[in-house]
């Protein structure tokens, strides 16, 4: 196990190197940062001084090495907008995003596990058709539409929940549902099909032949097996989840990283964008690693070496 983890961590190094190149090139893909920073009244002399100050007159590879050198120190440069180092600003926003992502996954799990199992065990019944239909609908609803509809219904009409912001548990409910619905829909379908396959396995028949309660057959013998592919696929969806936070956080003014990224892109605050992209990349890498570990915990047939 330890050896396996060590190997996986070592494999991350070349990936991080590639990401650093992408993050570095990102700035040049979005136009001229100097024009953006200067006011309309700036002279050519001002311009030349700024270029020299930013090191943009150096050859590209020198610029890259400088960038990497700073990166090792966690320095992505200062945010234009906040006039502060970019990385701490991004890191400060992380807890809020984690809170939302975990809540959304909880919502998704609580909805999808029972629905997926019911659909599979009552295959082709009215419930199955209802849940399968709902999951298509859930997957088809975009976050920005669902979020606004939820606000209209629960915040504006019923006045039961706050419209936006972060603070109490009540603030978390609508964004978590907005972000979790699509994932729940995907997971319901996955669990249903995985469960259907598992329920046809010989060992399920063995479990029944022992005289076990059907609920034990399903929740002990079948569920554990059918979660193996589900967990793997869901962990690979982390990037989709983070993508979802961009929109959800913006709708609900949730002070997380997603909202920060959208604002930074809009104001072309490149240091923040670079730092955020790097942080997201690392999150995705580690969630994939986590999926790998979970997969091995769930399935004893997988060896670590």
């Amino acid at each position: 196990m330890r050896q396996y983890l060590l190997k996986s961590l070592l494999q991350i190094i070349p990936v991080l190197f590639l990401i650093s190149i992408i993050v570095f090139v990102l700035v040049y893909c979005t136009g001229d940062p100097v024009s953006l920073m200067l006011s309309d009244t700036a002279t050519d002399e001002d311009r030349r001084i700024l270029i020299a100050a930013l090191g943009l007159d150096q050859p590209l590879y020198i610029q890259y090495f400088t960038f990497i050198g700073h990166l090792f120190q966690g320095d992505f440069g200062n945010s234009f907008r906040y006039d502060m180092p970019a990385l701490p600003i991004v890191m400060e926003r992380l807890p809020a995003t984690f809170e939302l992502a975990i809540a959304a996954m909880l919502v998704a799990t609580v909805i999808s596990v029972p629905l997926g199992i019911l659909s599979a065990t009552k295959r082709n019944s009215f419930l199955d058709v209802l849940f399968s239909g709902s999951s298509v609908l859930g997957k088809a609803m975009p976050h920005f539409w669902l979020g606004i509809m939820l606000i209209l219904l629960f915040a504006v009409e019923l006045k039961a929940l706050p419209v936006s912001g972060r603070g109490t548990l009540a603030h978390l409910i609508l964004p978590a549902f907005t972000l979790g619905t699509g994932i729940a829909a995907e997971m319901t379908r996955l669990i249903r099909s995985s469960m259907l396959e598992i329920l046809n396995q010989d060992y399920i028949r063995t479990a029944r032949s022992k005289g076990l309660l059907e609920s034990i057959v399903v929740y002990k013998h079948a569920l554990r097996n059918s979660m193996i592919p589900v967990v793997t696929i869901m962990a690979l969806q982390t990037s989709t989840l983070i993508g979802g936070t961009l929109i959800t956080e913006t709708i609900f003014s949730w002070p997380g990283m997603g909202q920060l990224i959208i604002q930074a892109v809009n104001t072309r605050d490149m240091a923040i964008v670079q730092a955020a992209v790097f942080v997201v990349a690392i999150l995705v890498i580690f969630s994939n690693l986590l999926a790998d570990i979970l997969y091995r915990v769930l399935d004893p047939r997988i060896k670590y070496n």
Partner: protein
């Protein structure tokens, strides 16, 4: 038949498919005495396995037992509710399956899957169940049982897995054990060990056994009595010596004829021509007539019934 342990009377199990109803088991009757080993023989698709699943109450939809009686010690299993049947299953009534490689759950240890039976039917706690599991593994001849109890199924060979399956099936000392082709998926040497084990346990515990197989060598070795099935029906039934010495039904004769013999040199093995009929297009008259070397015109129109052709020897043939 002093004490009848199991009596199956006129059992019908049908599968509803899009193309029509398939009568996989079509009115079969037989019985098993205490401590007796009854072999059910026939080609693939003749309804052997469906018969055993019907007894266990484990026929999966779209299959359904639609008629008949299954009496275990006088109690009709088909009249029991789910809860009552669950209490018998794995307890008085248990089953070993054909595929040891896939019949154990890959994500739980041997001890967990075996101990489950003790915890369920004998209300043991985890510790007691573990102790009994180790004893049971020793009973079925698994070396280092105290280690194997914590193994996962993938760490065991097919033969060992089948021993674990047998341990699970025998855990509660069942009155009736159904073994559905228990050795088909195993190497020949392992087959012999497993059969020997079954025979020993059968003698020791006086368990009634239904052995489902298509291997007549296994039948000769193990069985007291034999039921030959063809296309969902019993075509012949007799004690094992009688059946091998003087088979009455042409199908049984064909099965026995297709066995290679030690004292004969042949280029090709005998076989029964044709294949098991499509259950949706069952031939009229005797179901076997299209493949029967002795068939006459009468066989095409008149369905023979199962009659006693010799003492305690039944056959379903107009000419037996």
């Amino acid at each position: 038949m002093e004490t009848k342990l199991l009596e199956v009377r006129n059992l019908h199990t049908h599968f509803k498919t899009e193309d029509g109803v398939v009568p996989s088991v079509n009115g079969i009757s037989f019985s098993v005495a205490k401590g007796e080993t009854l072999a059910i023989v026939g080609e693939s698709g003749c309804g052997k396995s469906v018969t055993s699943l019907s007894i266990m109450g484990l026929v999966a939809p779209p299959g359904q037992v639609v008629g008949g009686e299954i009496l275990l010690e006088g109690q009709n299993l088909l009249a029991l509710n789910k809860k009552e049947l669950r209490k018998l299953r794995g307890n008085k009534l248990s089953m070993i399956f054909q595929e040891p490689m896939t019949s154990l759950n890959p994500v739980f240890t041997v001890g967990n899957q075996l101990g489950e039976v003790f915890r369920l039917h004998q209300n043991m706690d985890k510790q007691q169940a573990r102790g009994r599991s180790i004893e049971m593994l020793e009973t079925v001849g698994i070396p280092r049982a105290d280690k194997v109890v914590d193994y996962f199924p993938h760490q065991l060979s097919g033969g060992m897995r089948q021993r674990v399956m047998i341990a699970i099936a025998l855990a509660c000392n069942p009155a009736l054990l159904i073994a559905d082709e228990p050795t088909t998926a195993l190497d020949v040497t392992i087959q012999a060990q497993i059969l020997e084990l079954l025979k020993k346990l059968n003698d020791e515990y006086d368990t009634g056994v239904i052995l489902i197989t298509h291997d007549l060598g296994v039948v000769a070795e193990m069985a007291d009595r034999v039921v030959v099935m063809y296309a969902g029906e019993v075509v012949e039934q007799a004690n094992v010596f009688e059946l091998f010495a003087s088979p009455k039904h042409p199908y049984t004769k064909g099965l026995l004829g297709s066995l290679p013999k030690l004292d004969e040199q042949r280029e090709e093995l005998e076989s029964i021509p044709g294949a098991v009929p499509n259950p949706l297009e069952m031939p009229g008259g005797c179901a076997f007539h299209p493949r029967c070397p002795l068939a006459t015109e009468q066989c095409q129109s008149k369905k023979p019934s199962l009659v006693e052709v010799a003492p305690d020897h039944l056959a379903r043939c107009l000419y037996a």
